[in-house]
Amino acid sequence: MMRSVLPVLTVVGVIVALWYGAAVWMNAPWARDQAARAGVELSLSELVADTMVQERPVLPAPHQVAEGLWTGVTGQKVTSKRSLVRHGWVTLSATLAGFAIGAGLGIALAVSIVQSRAMDLSLMPWAIASQTVPILAIAPMVIVVLASLGIKGLIPKAIISAYLSFFPVLVGMVKGLRAPDAMQLDLLKTYNASGIQGLWKLRLPASMPYLFASLKVAIAASLVGAIVAELPAGATSGLGARLLSGSYYGQTIQIWAALMAAAILAAGLVAIVGLLEKVVLRKMGMAR
């Protein structure tokens, strides 16, 4: 335990130090400007001190972001418009809905592609093409079209989130379902097993490690999708909306606090999938 803590702390320390350095460097011009306008000379220590406490710094210092995050989470009721818990929950619910749709779709498509050569030839190129279209171009269209049908709120966001998350699951599962070797497949042939039996007894269990690897990518992609979906809609809640309103008003601390909240959320989600992976693979006897 101790042996892994030390390197991690070292890396974190280096990052924070670099961040502080960058904050000083990037916020200094504004501090100098202000001082020149007021006709005062700043000593180096005064200059550095000023770069740490600006209200709208170009790059907020780590402690400012931490403080913004802390007050965002605990500084008010969770129902408040300024609560990061509220915004986080809005984004999280869309993320989870999108992840469920995306993972389900990815698995279903992968199964049909592996079971049928026609599906393989006809579906896969479209799936790949879908990912070459930038999400930023698709998101506004989906939201506008659905809004005109009277569908708003969670569902359009979940759809965009699913659009990003189905692909890694599809690719991972196609690989996983094709993981069994020729001998394992021949064995089933000698039992005269049906295609469905082959799927249940061999291909699906064999694909589990691949599934979980792709689910970790997919859940992070789901979060990105949900946040992007909150950008174009003029949404008023969600971490994406928080990012957007922060950039309107030059509230860099708010932007960074929202970004941090998103990063923490992503790390938490990936960790949960990782835990699930451990439990399932151990139960299957595949983790030693």
Partner: protein, 262 residues
């Protein structure tokens, strides 16, 4: 001829050519062989002479490009559909996410045996291959030899007429091999199954078989078929009898002759 009188395996002028990127590979050519029901037939020959390929043809995992192949009087495919064979591959190939008992249960689940029947048969074959008490272990918790025995148990569990074994004991030490050879003979005597057995070992082939098929490579042909004169009842000491040594000698001669064709 009724189905019950038909030989277990009947091959007439069977040839198989693999079309590969580097041109055709003649894995089998003009193979003629009749295996009666209840025979124990061994296939022996140098590496690449088509032993595995022939076994795979019998199990309908490969299809001859020419010739006629009947299994229990049916086409190989039809016999496969009727689940006529248990196949033991060169490697154990157990599913890592299933316990040993779960692996042995696999064919029983697929063939729709009732649950109690499954449990009964799993216990039975586990005992047969001397793995009693290992049912709940996962494959990686067992040695290679134990895994191979588990894969034999898996092939035995559903009680197919014909047992096809591709070098099942190749990776085992001499002592364990002797034991399993004895067990296999007992099993064969008790069940009356037809067994097709691939090996590289002359003593093993002679000890086990009623019929020894000697093959030679390029293209895969049968050079000799030896009907063993040994009694069906075979203690391990039989390997020191003059009769045993004479048959071994003939097999060796057959193998030499095959090589001189190259």
């Amino acid at each position: 001829m009724s189905l019950h009188e038909a030989p277990a395996i009947e091959a007439k002028e069977v040839s198989l050519t693999f079309e590969t990127a580097d041109g055709p590979v003649h894995a089998l050519s003009d193979v003629n062989l009749t295996v009666a029901r209840g025979d124990f037939v061994s296939f022996i020959g140098p590496s690449g002479c088509g032993k595995t390929t022939f076994l795979r043809c019998v199990a309908a995992l490969e299809h001859p490009t020419e010739g006629l192949l009947r299994v229990n009087g049916l086409s190989a495919d039809e016999a496969r559909r009727r689940r006529a064979f248990g196949y033991v591959f060169q490697a154990a190939g157990l599913y890592p996410w299933r316990t040993i008992a779960g692996n042995i249960r696999l064919p029983l689940e697929i063939m729709g045996f009732p649950r109690e029947e499954q449990d009964r048969r799993v216990e039975e074959v586990l005992e047969l291959v001397d793995l009693k008490g290992f049912g709940r272990k996962y494959p990686w918790q067992l040695s290679g030899g134990m895994q191979q025995r588990a894969s034999i148990a898996r092939a035995l569990s559903f009680d197919a007429d014909i047992l096809l074994m591709d070098e099942p004991f190749g990776a085992l030490d001499e002592i364990v091999r002797d034991r399993l050879n004895e067990e296999l003979l007992k099993l064969w005597a008790r069940t009356g199954k037809t067994i097709g057995f691939v090996t590289h070992s002359i003593p093993e082939a002679v000890y086990l078989s009623t019929k020894i098929v000697v093959m030679s490579p390029r293209p895969g042909r049968i050079t000799d078929v030896i009907e063993s004169s040994l009694p069906r009842e075979r203690p391990l000491e039989i390997r020191d009898t003059p009769e045993f040594i004479e048959i071994s000698h003939r097999v060796r001669e057959g193998l030499r002759a095959g090589h001189s064709y190259e």
